[in-house]
Each structure stands twice: as structure tokens, then as C-alpha cells.
């Protein structure tokens, strides 16, 4: 295990995030905290101007912010994107406070003889590595993590407790797979016979997870029926996301909690699917599309932009429809009134 570290100068944190120090850069901090809870040993940040009032009152020792302030109480780290700068600073502090334990292959771990491990791996008790699996360097398999036969796992990847990678899958470098997630389980494929009994289509493909992907807990990324299901480099899945067989997810895509993507869909780079969105099979979603929460998509989305609803449509249209829906009972009443008035006119003005 690397030693835990307990403090950092504002200077070195500013260097880590490309910020500019205003004030005493040799001042040290020991942790991160929100503006309204931070003390003199904390570094905090202001990214959204609506929290500016907290800045005036903060007890933080240092603050990351966009515009230099006329304030001497805290050291400033001025950065163009304070939230991004905060991310980089917090990564430094997090890695220092909670360093990775390098434990080798623990007693009680099960590693097949034909498996190969790079240097620096940490294989916890009850973790399992199947025949012929190949792990890179500094891979961490937490207790109960499972790597099936013939899998490849890249350098620095972390598989959290009880997550499962089925046989013959490929996982890139610096990937994080959270607890109780399954990668490469059978896709859902059955052919009904003459009596409507369901005959299994063996799922003979695999799953490929690109570098720098993070997959939340209790997700399932099914193996292809034939060929791969793919999650592209840098994409991030929240919790309880389902990615069906042969789906191709692009790079830097965000799939928020409880999203479900049916078989063979293609999701373009940088797309964002908000919570509980569902996609029918074989759809193409263009790069940079954003689908609002609970949207249901049944046809291709070809242009970047914001979409919402079930069926999904451009967000302004969806909002106008939703707003009009709340007027529906009044509209129906109005229709009845108009009809009566019209009938009266048609009748020559008599009741």
C-alpha cells in the first residue's frame, strides 16, 4: 500500500488543476468540503453563481473560483471551469487519503493456474479468476469479484465486490465496474417453436468495455448473440442500467440510472440518456443527442439536440404538448359549449 497522505499546499493543487493562485500558495489543506461546511483545513469551490452568498461566509482555507475576489480570508485558485478544476483537485486528495492497497493475491482468492496477472495486482479473498484470463498491471479485484475464463482485463482496472465478468469478455484500462454488476451475461434471445415454446438462441458473442469507462452497481451489459456488445471509451453508466446484446455505445456517453437499451441499438458519442429512458431495438441515436428522463424512443434520432417524451420528440414540442394536456378537460368542455352555441345558430338562434 502507498502511504496515506494528509495535506497538500494550495500551490500543488492549483498545479494539478491548471489554476492560478491568488494569495498564499504555501497554505495547506487536508480535505474538500462544500462552501457552507468548509473549515480552515478544507478547500472548496464555487461553480454556480447562485451559491455566491456562501462564498461571503465560508470558513474554507482555500476556494476554487472563476473570478478573482477581493478577499483575503481564503486563498483563491482561479480557474476557467471551477467544477472541472475541483474534480482534478478532489482526485488528488481522494487518492492521497484513501490510497489503493496493493495486496497481491490474497489467501482465499481463486486464480486459475493458466491465468496471467500483471505486476501490482490486488486480488482479494473470494475473488475468482478463470482459466486463461489475462489481467494487466495494478488490477484490483475486490472480494467476490469474478473474472470468467478467457477474459482480458486492462491495467489499473477495478472490479468492485461481487461484480461479475462472464467468460471471453474484454475490459479496457482504468475501468471501474461497481458491485453486483454483470458484464457479458447471456443476451435475451429465444425463438418460439411451433407450440410457442421458447428455444434458446445461444449467446455466443462477448462484451467489450473501452478504456476509462465507469459502470455503476447492478447494471447488466449483455454479451452479443454473435460478435460484441460495446461500451466506448470514457462512457459512464449510472446504476441499474441495462444494455442489451449487440448494442454499440459510443464514447463519452452518459447513461443515467435505470436506462434500458434494447438489442442492436447504436448510441452516438457524447449522447446523454437521462434516468429511466427506454429504447426499442435496432435504433440509431445520433451523437450529442440528449434524451430527457423517462423518454421512450421507438425510432431513430438523427439530429443532435434535446428530446423528451414517449414517443420522444424535440423538447419544445414535447413541453408544449404536455402543457396542453393539462388543459384537456377544459378543452373538452369548451368543445361542448361551442357545439351547443353552433347548434343554436344553425337552428336560427332558437334554443
Amino acid at each position: 500500500m502507498s502511504e496515506a497522505r494528509k495535506s497538500w499546499t494550495v500551490e500543488e493543487l492549483a498545479a494539478a488543476c491548471g489554476g492560478r493562485v491568488v494569495g498564499d500558495g504555501t497554505r495547506t489543506v487536508a480535505n474538500v468540503a462544500p462552501l457552507d461546511e468548509a473549515g480552515p483545513d478544507d478547500i472548496s469551490y464555487l461553480s454556480d453563481p447562485k451559491w455566491s452568498r456562501h462564498l461571503a461566509e465560508t470558513g474554507a482555507g482555500a476556494v476554487i473560483l472563476k473570478d478573482e475576489q477581493d478577499a483575503a480570508r481564503y486563498v483563491q485558485v482561479v480557474a476557467g471551469d471551477p467544477y472541472l478544476a475541483y474534480a482534478r483537485v478532489a482526485q488528488v486528495i481522494d487518492a492521497g487519503l484513501y490510497p489503493r492497497a496493493e495486496i497481491g493475491v490474497a489467501e482465499g482468492a481463486f486464480v486459475a493456474e493458466s491465468a496471467t496477472l500483471g505486476s501490482g495486482c490486488s486480488i482479494y479473498p473470494t475473488a475468482f479468476v478463470g482459466e486463461r484470463a489475462r489481467l494487466g498491471s495494478n488490477v484490483t479485484l475486490h472480494p467476490g469479484a469474478h473474472v470468467g475464463e478467457d477474459c482480458e482485463i486492462g491495467d489499473d482496472t477495478v472490479i468492485f465486490p461481487n461484480a461479475v465478468v462472464y467468460p471471453r469478455c474484454r475490459v479496457g484500462a482504468r475501468v471501474r465496474i461497481h458491485a453486483c454488476t454483470t458484464i457479458g451475461n447471456d443476451g435475451y434471445g429465444f425463438a418460439p417453436d411451433a407450440e410457442k415454446k421458447l428455444v434458446k438462441i445461444p449467446q455466443m458473442g462477448w462484451t467489450e468495455i473501452g478504456d476509462d469507462v465507469e459502470i455503476g452497481p447492478c447494471c447488466t451489459v449483455h454479451r452479443g448473440a454473435l460478435g460484441p456488445t460495446r461500451i466506448g471509451r470514457g462512457s459512464k453508466l449510472d446504476a441499474l442500467v441495462v444494455v442489451a446484446h449487440n448494442v454499440q455505445v459510443g464514447e463519452d456517453v452518459r447513461l443515467v440510472a435505470q436506462v434500458g437499451i434494447s438489442g442492436s441499438c447504436e448510441i452516438g458519442d457524447r449522447a446523454i440518456l437521462a434516468g429511466q429512458v427506454g429504447l426499442a431495438g435496432h435504433l440509431k441515436i445520433a451523437p450529442d443527442v440528449v434524451l430527457g428522463a423517462q423518454s421512450g424512443v421507438a425510432s431513430d434520432v438523427k439530429k443532435p439536440g434535446l428530446y423528451l417524451g414517449s414517443p420522444a420528440m424535440p423538447i419544445e414540442k414535447a413541453r408544449r404538448i404536455v402543457m396542453t394536456q393539462t388543459k384537456l378537460p377544459e378543452m373538452r368542455q369548451k368543445l361542448r359549449d361551442l357545439e351547443k352555441r353552433l347548434a343554436k345558430l344553425e337552428g336560427g338562434g332558437k334554443d
Copy 2:
């Protein structure tokens, strides 16, 4: 292990639930069963008057009911709330039939040397307790259950097989965490850089689970980005519920299956979120709010009451809108008719 127990007098069961015996309180029963399947060794209950016809024909040895009956065939336990009384009686019988096994730390369990355990704990094979974790008395960790470093687990808590508590979380007393649920996994936080690559915001907070909480299987309660995510005392989560980072769930709240709550929401005491409800981030839901199944909520709900729909609205309004929606095609046709008739009038009555 405490001895299993095989029978109870109606008298002692009545005492357990605060009911009044009518008939022979020394009669014994050995199990619970529904009215229409119960035999002479069973105690049953009538809570909903619509099942009264089953009462006339039941073979139960004893029945918990609200109003004393003129019947000698079964012993009666009269209670103001028969369903609640049944709950308490069934708890007694369940605990007797299936007593907790006290097995100590089994061979094949992994408990860090720096961890501390109260008396009476049962740590099954392949369960894992990390460094410096502190378990109270009578805690049960089933096989594959995982308690991370520096966690605190209260007395009498049960963690079912393969459930995972990430490091530095706090779990109260008498909590039940079901199989394959994850507590304290990373929340979903990323800051896009200039190229729209997603930079991880380290999730440096934790999760706190109050006393007497029950969490169903395959749920995820994410750790705070900073500070805690909280589930208040007595709240109950069904299966596949997602609670995102920094959410604050009140006491005695019910979150039904597949509910998804986005980051930093606050859910008031005794609120009920029915199946598949989704909440956007940073919302406040008042105490005693009930959200109907599949509702989508995008703004605060400030008053107790029943709400439904996406967007959610008071239930009577939602129902009226849904009902009117089913008339939409007719309304559209009617509009066309009216327009024609109007045009005819405008034209002076000519076609």
C-alpha cells in the same frame, strides 16, 4: 442456534399482538395460513371485509379479526387492526420456526484483524469484514456479504448473501439489507472537460442507514459526493430502488420497486413512492405525499396528498386528464365537424 419452536397457545399470540381472546385461549397453533387454506393447526386473519365469505368456511384453528363473531369453530383474537395484529403474531411464529443460527465467525469468513465484533455475531463463510470496521452484537453477515473498511454496523442487523456495504458507511440497528444490494457505491458525478471527456468527481462522502430500515434486493444507495446520503429510521425500500448521492430520505418512507431518486432530493417522512416512480434532482417531497406508480416528478411537491402522472399532479386532475386523453381522437373529429358546420354558417348556409 436457539432451538426451533413448534407451537404457540392462542393466548400468548393474543398477548403478543394486544388482542382479546374469545374462546379457548389454551388451544395451540403451529403456523399461519390464509383463511381459505388454513387447517386446525393454523392461525389466520380477516382484515378486509371483502373476504368475509372465507371466514364462514375456514378450517383455521384460530382467527384474528376486528369484530367478535358468533362462531365456536375457531378461537378468536379480536384486535382493532387485524392486519397489524397478524404482523405481530406472524413475527412470533416466524422467529420460532426459523430461529437465527448463531455461528460465530465461520471458517472461510474473512474478518480483518483491526475489525471489532460485538457478541453473538454470525459471520458466514466467504463474508468479508474490512479493516477497522465495527460490528455491534448479533449481527449476521450471510455468505458473500461485504462490509468495507471503517464501516459501522448496528446491533441485530442482517446483511443477506452478496450484499455490499462500501467503506466508511454507517448502518443502524435491526437493519435488513437484502441480497445483491449495494450501499455506499460511488455516486454518479462527472465534469466534462473542454473536449467533452468526462472527468470523475471523486465521491468522498458516505451513506447512513437509520435503525429499523429494510432494503430489498438489487437496490443501490449511493454514497454522497461530499457528506452523507441518508435513509431515515424505519423506512422500507422494495427491490431495484436507486437512491442517488446526497439524497435525504425521511423516516417511515416507502419506496416501492424500481423507484429512482436523483441526487440531493429530500423525501419527507411517511411519503410513499409507488413502483417505477422517477424524481429529477434536488427536489423536495413533503411528508405524507403519495406518488402513484410510474409518476415522473420534475418540481417540488409541497403538500401532502396523492399525486400521479408525468409530470405529477394531484390525482383527481391527473385522472381527469387521462380520461380525457382517451377521447382525443373523437375530440379531433368533433373539431373538424364543428369547423365545417361553422364554415357553412359563415358562408351563409351554402355548402
Copy 3:
């Protein structure tokens, strides 16, 4: 372990699927592949005429198809239902390429002394079998798979890594339970007391899984409150499906990803519930009903057919309503216009 096998004659594959060979039946193939990727050692299939163009250009050594072609390049297997025939052929090849390993009870597996195992079982390290559990022949428990006390598991059943079967459940023969799925966890039952605190109703029933069922990963099939929850023979659950307590699912039913079924529902044989469908409690769904994706069902569905929407209705009606909804803003505008024109007429034609 049976030996892996590397090649098959077209003749024997045709026999396995009941197809007729056109061309040289002694030709051998070694794997399956889609038409547009297949090489001379692959067998492929054409089920949907829209891919016929791939047939003309395929490099496959053999093709399963419906209508005999005038082509000498590949051997043909003519079958009435090519997709079904492909399923059977792929099963043969899959079983040959990836034969089941028969490993007995591995070191590091935990099998209670009172449990009984049929012949040919494979119990991997860290799998757990509780007291008095009874396993049939050729059962596979992958690492971390959990079989609780007093469970029954039928012949040839496979429980994937970290899946959990709670005590006293019954699982049939040839069942596949995927990773991180839980069978027989507590149902969600609580009775509020006078202070609205939630008192647990012990869940004293069990779960029964019929023969030939397949259950995807991260699903939960809750035990009955009293009596069983049942999944009927041959039914197939995709990923993240929730089946609540006392639900009765018929035979050959398909529950697609993220479906949620509330307590005590009855699902008829051969019904299909598409992705993210939700059902309220105590509903009856007739055999052969198909519910479209994201449908919400709040009342019985009594006739076979296609339904869609929330609330669910016959699909033509649902589609008409959805289409009309997209016209709502225009309808509202039209209403306003008509009213103005009518007012003008009523006023005698003056503005």
C-alpha cells in the same frame, strides 16, 4: 469436463434442426456467424428476407434458409423456420465449443453436511449450499452462487456467479439463473401501526421456478407472504425484472428487461411484457396478451391481443391517441379560432 469439439458436418447439424441438406452434407463447419461476416468454416442463416442481399455475397460455408437457392457456393440447410433451426444448430455448436466443466465439489466451496447432491454436480469455490438443500444431477453452482437451507434444485440447472436462492425455494430442471439475481428474497409487506411506523409482515412463503426457465441477471423473484410465488415452465425473464410476492407467472411467458409486476398478479401463458412495463397489484393478464414497452397496467387484461400505453389499451387505440396528442397544441389553437369565428357570427357578423 467433456472434450471440446471443433467441427461438425452440415449433415449432422441439419439432423439436429430437422432441416434438409442441399449440396454436400459432408462439408464441415466450426462455428456460426452472421451472413455478412461468415467465412468458409461458418454456418449462417437467413430468416428475414430483408437481408437477402447478404446471401448473394456471403462467404459462409453453409446457410440455413427457408427456400432452396440456385447457388453452389454454400451448402444449404432448408428449414421451415430458419431462425428456429439456427437456434438448434447453434445449441449444438455452443455446447461443443464450450462444454460444461464437471469439477465435483471444488476446494473452497461450502456444502452443508446435511445437503445432498446428485451425480455430476459442479460446485465452484465460494459457492454455498445450505443445510438440507437437495441438488439434482449435473447442477452447476458458479463461484459465489448461493443455495439456502431446504432448497430443492433440479437436474442440469445452472446458477451463475453470485446469484442467490433464499431458503426453502424450489427450482426446477434445466433452469438458468444469471449472476446477481435473487430468488425468494422477502416480499415487500408492512403494516403501519397507529403512529404510521411500518411493522414487518414476515414473508413466510417461498418461490417456485418451473423447468426450463431462464432468469436474467439482477432480477428479483420475491418469496410469497404465505404460499408460493411461481414462474411457470419455460418462461424467460430478461435482466432487472421484479416479480413481487405471490405473483403467478404462467408458462412460456416473456418478461423483458426492467418489467415490474406487483404482488399477487397472474400472468397467462405465452404473454409477453415488453421492456419497462409496470403492473399494479392483483391483476390478471390473459394468455397471449402482448404489452408494449413502458405500458402501465392498472386493471385486468382479459383478451389476447396487443396493448400499449399507461393506462394500457388496445394498440390501435393507443396509437391513435398518441398521434392525436402530437396535434394537441394545434387543436387548442383551432378551438380558439373557432370560438372567435363563432362569437363573430353570434354577434351578427360584426367584429
